[in-house]
Amino acid sequence: MSEEKQQVSRRQFLNYTLTGVGGFMAAGLLAPMLRMAIDPVLQPPSEGEFVNVGLAVEDITTTPQRVDWKIKQVDGWYESEPGRTAWVYKDDNGDIIALSPICTHLGCVVSWEGSEDHPNQFFCPCHDGRYTKDGVNVKGTPPLAPLPTFEQKVENGMLYLGKAIPRKGA
């Protein structure tokens, strides 16, 4: 039997086998490495955890008050407790509103009645940005979007806040 008549020549067979063994070695080497590298991608998305901000619902008035609390943040092996701030009040219907104080213009920190010239408004000292009580930006001032609101729930008479949800620009 001559070599030409064979479907797969000896040389071809060896080439295929070489490719196969090489592929096996590469896969065996790289599989654990790649799985390790993409691990963060496969982690389930973190749930916005609600944190007790230490404010009883009955203490919430119709005047916005500043609330500071800390959230637990786990970044791999690094645990930290970054602070969060909100302005909390009850609106006319008795619903609790929790506004993020981060100005939507350039991210400065706004405060309730921060300027004596503008009562009943949130005021940003950086560029005189203003928001009405419900967090909507006043037209003609720098910000282009309302203040974000926090996700919230009430348990045992205490206020729990979650993630800040941005609102669409007005």
Binding site: P82, G83, I102, L106, G107, C108, V109, P125, C126, D128
Partner: protein, 263 residues
């Protein structure tokens, strides 16, 4: 290739013991014309250029120490981000209406993707035989357009930035910053009026410069706290609204911390 019996090797290696002249590329002296040997003639010229370049480069590093801003503070919500200069054109492009908002994909992926794809495949898009620029006007015009717009975008982005104020506001604070004496009688006033912008340890934030190492005198600080500062970014007036006694304590607190830091 010479094969077979009679070949002699160096030891049991595959290096031939007999050197054939044909195996060795030509010596430089065999080249005619006004060419030059790479080694050492041309390399020397290159190294001379390299040496001049190095002197300029080292002068640059000595004249302008590499900048380092304050340690990253994720809670610093007022910091205005800025990329390195060679990404500025992209940063500026995304400010345009047709490249942001609903069209963000156009500005972020389609436009740069087209530009870089065209660059990568340039030899196949511009595949005529002529090499001189006037023989391939389309390719040259496209390149000039792309280059001009990148330079123009970079320039526009850079001209919006007040580099000096930026550098001033983001000076690094030595890790050995003084401990803040929170029992100081002026701390309460500081906490109420200044802390939010100037930071817990007077280190400054993105909104306001550090009070550590301030060049103002006590009287000037007292004045600024009440009247604010003109200019850009400046400081709004009436940040401090307490009594005169509290103001004195506040200024004393700031000066004390500065004195301690200077030690």
């Amino acid at each position: 290739m010479h094969k077979g019996k009679g070949m002699k090797f160096v030891g049991d290696s595959r290096v031939s013991a007999e050197r054939k002249a044909s195996q060795i590329p030509k010596d430089y002296s065999e080249y005619p014309g006004r060419t030059e040997a790479f080694w050492p003639n041309f390399l020397l010229k290159e190294w001379l250029v390299g040496a001049v370049f190095l002197v300029g480069f080292l002068s640059l590093t000595l004249a302008h120490p590499s900048p380092l801003e304050g340690m990253a503070d994720p809670t610093n919500a007022s910091y205005i981000p800025l990329p390195d200069w060679y990404f500025l054109f992209l940063y500026e492009l995304l400010k345009y209406e047709f490249a942001s908002g609903n069209y963000i994909l156009l500005g972020m992926i389609v436009l740069p993707g087209l530009a870089f794809g065209a660059l990568l495949l340039a030899p196949f898009l511009d595949n005529g035989p002529g090499r001189r620029p006037h023989q391939r006007p389309i390719a040259v015009i496209m390149m000039l357009l792309g280059l001009t717009s990148a330079i123009w975008l970079t320039y526009t982005a850079a001209s919006h930035v007040d580099w000096e104020t930026r550098a001033e506001m983001n000076k690094p604070i030595p890790p050995t910053a003084v401990e803040i004496d929170k029992s100081h009688e002026g701390f309460a006033a500081y906490e109420a009026s200044c802390l939010q912008c100037h930071g817990e340890a007077l280190e400054g934030t993105g909104m306001a410069p550090a009070l550590l190492g301030t060049e103002y005198t006590a009287e000037e600080i007292a004045k600024i706290a009440v009247e604010g500062l003109e200019g850009d970014p400046g400081m709004p007036p009436n940040m401090f609204t307490g009594s005169d006694e509290e103001l004195e304590q506040l200024v004393d607190f700031i000066m004390t911390v500065n004195e301690k830091a200077a030690e």
